[in-house]
């Protein structure tokens, strides 16, 4: 397989796509939101447990491509034990990383600062049509944080 594809599909991504972590619906969760990508039909639901402004548990259910499944899986690992504000700024950093946003966030995102394992998604920016695959779980996560009831889509 070519080098380029490995840039997109890094081992960590393939591993999380095949064996997603935190997959399921925790009975104790107190917030949830559905995400839908109308371009490909992928759907997933993010479940959060928020206690005193801290994400104490995060999980998801759904079906999608390797990028969206791995993104959801890694996201649920990364947001745990973060405050709502910290988790939200992680989303902004992540978005800047995969969408190649300009500005301050992009500089931070460029070197993978604070992104931890999420840096494995840096290859996504070379694939504009796949950016929404990576951000779908995060849109659902942000909606769950806000306590939104309606489904969110990647087109909002």
């Amino acid at each position: 397989m070519t080098f380029d594809l490995r840039e997109l599909y890094q081992e960590v991504i393939l591993d999380h796509a095949k064996q997603p972590r935190n997959f399921g619906h925790p009975p104790a969760c107190n917030r949830q939101a559905k995400g839908h990508n109308p371009l490909c039909g992928d759907r997933l639901t993010v479940y959060l447990t928020i206690e005193d402004g801290v994400v104490t548990d995060a999980a998801f259910e759904g079906a999608g491509c390797a990028i969206s499944m791995a993104s959801a899986s890694l996201m649920t690992e990364m947001v745990k034990n973060k405050t709502e504000a910290e988790a939200h700024s992680l989303f902004e950093l992540f978005h800047a990383l995969v969408a190649g946003d300009q500005g301050e966030n992009a500089e931070n995102a460029g070197d993978g600062a604070d992104l931890g394992k999420l840096a494995v998604f840096s290859g996504v920016r070379e694939y504009p049509v796949r950016v929404k695959c990576a951000t779908l779980p995060w849109h659902a996560f942000a909606a769950a944080l806000k306590g939104k009831q309606d489904d969110v889509t990647t087109e909002e």
Binding site: M1, L5, A17, C40, C65, I67
Partner: protein
């Protein structure tokens, strides 16, 4: 019989006949010469939009370089020339579809606009509360949403012809749907997502027994088989030029003259009127009544050139070539482990829709793109059909007259790489 498999059976492998020379055909399509990601382009997304032969590109270019002016207006040479070419293209569409008269051909942006036109004119005038429109599970969103909009406006009911697991329409269920409240049947001639050719002639016959008019979406049929609207006896037939190797932004609506004459205009504006005062407007005759504003003049001329091109190659040759590819590709893909093919009927055009266990169609699409292979991954604007099969998306390889066995080989090798990569 005008179905693809019927044609295939009819075609005699006459040794005297010149074989379809796909190498020479490919020379007509400049875009196919390029490389993508360092590999020769393998274009397998013609069902979304087909590539254009040089004859079409030249016709559009020549129009703008030598023959362009507004039509139906000027008393000068160029306007007359452009009008002649534009109306000449209408005659080409008429003959291509086997319509009785050129005035039964309305130029539109594409099949989507054609269906919206029928819904908003015929539908608004002749359909009323509690009336029913029959569609099929195979429909593209463009033959669903315009009817839903009309349903919501008028209080109609949409009835859906179910399919069996092979994707074939369940004709016995269709017959049961046709009742006294049924006012229109709108069905595809060929499924864009699966390639299945529907028994439209029988669908039309059964509807006509009850006096119900039928609209046929011919987008995926016209590039792959001869169509004769008088033989089918359909009331409306729509297609898009860009899937027929013509320019984008041009398509045609065929309607029986009596129906078109009874329908109110679609959009108001210039060219669709005969006289205008501030008190009253007299509408122009068909087809002009439905063609408000300056149309896509170069597009229509380009579509005429595409029809000439396809007709020049001949459907006997095209059908033979594409059916051979279909057979070859179906067999080759079937040998791939954990691959599930949708639309497993005999009467098909060369479209292969599939999923692979454990590999999402989007990921297949990305892996293939790296090999220079363009396929479509997604719901193909046919979400109800995807729901029927319990999937959110499939990978779809769709072939045109310029595709080769080597393209199939590249597809199969690419698909196997994807299986290995994610396996």
């Amino acid at each position: 019989m005008t179905t693809a498999a019927g044609i295939r059976r009819q075609v005699q492998r006459d040794s005297d006949r010149l074989a379809f020379d796909v190498r020479r055909v490919r020379e007509d399509f400049p875009i196919l010469k390029q490389r993508v990601n360092g590999r020769p382009l393998v274009f397998l997304d013609s069902a979304a939009s087909a590539q254009k032969p040089r004859a079409v590109i030249r016709a559009v270019q020549q129009c703008y370089e030598r023959e362009y002016a507004n039509i139906h207006r000027g008393v000068y040479f160029l306007s007359e020339r452009a009008t002649e070419l534009f109306e000449g293209a209408r005659v080409k569409v008429q003959r291509f579809l086997g319509a009785r008269e050129a005035r039964e051909i309305i130029f539109v942006r594409g099949a989507t606009e054609a269906i919206n036109l029928v819904a908003q004119t015929y539908g608004r005038k002749f359909l009323n509360r509690a009336d029913e429109v029959v569609l099929s599970t195979l429909e593209h969103h463009s033959n669903i949403v315009p009817w839903q909009m009309l349903r919501d406006e008028k209080g109609l009911t949409l009835r859906i012809i179910p399919i069996d697991d092979s994707g074939a329409l369940r004709m016995e269920e269709y017959e049961k749907l046709l009742g006294t409240r049924t006012k229109l049947v709108a069905v595809t001639h060929c499924s864009n997502a699966l390639g299945i050719v529907t028994p439209v002639k029988e669908i039309i016959r059964l509807a006509h027994e009850k006096g119900i008019p039928v609209l046929v979406d011919g987008c995926q049929a016209v590039p792959h088989m001869p169509v004769d609207v008088r033989d089918l006896d359909c009331d409306f037939y729509v297609f898009s030029g860009h899937k027929l190797y013509g320019p984008s932004g041009i398509g045609a609506l065929y309607g029986k003259a009596a129906l078109l004459e009874a329908m109110p205009p679609y959009q108001g504006g210039g060219d669709m009127i005969s006289t205008v005062t501030f008190e009253k407007t007299e509408y122009n005759v068909i087809p002009h009544k439905f063609e408000a504003g300056t149309p896509n003049i170069a597009g229509a001329i380009g579509l005429g050139a595409a029809i000439d091109y396809v007709s020049g190659l001949g459907f006997d040759e095209i059908v033979d070539h594409e059916q051979e590819l279909l057979e070859y590709a179906t067999e080759a893909l079937a040998e791939t482990n954990s691959l599930r093919l949708f639309g497993t009927v005999e009467d098909k055009v060369c479209i292969l829709s599939f999923i692979i266990e454990g590999v999402h169609p989007h990921d297949i699409g990305t892996i293939l793109d790296h090999e220079g292979i363009a396929i479509r991954a997604g719901h193909h604007c046919a979400q109800p059909l995807m729901d029927r099969f319990g999937v959110t998306a499939t990978a779809r390889a769709s072939f045109g007259l310029y595709n080769t066995r080597e393209d199939v080989d590249a597809l199969v090798a690419g698909v196997r790489k994807a299986v290995e990569f994610f396996g």
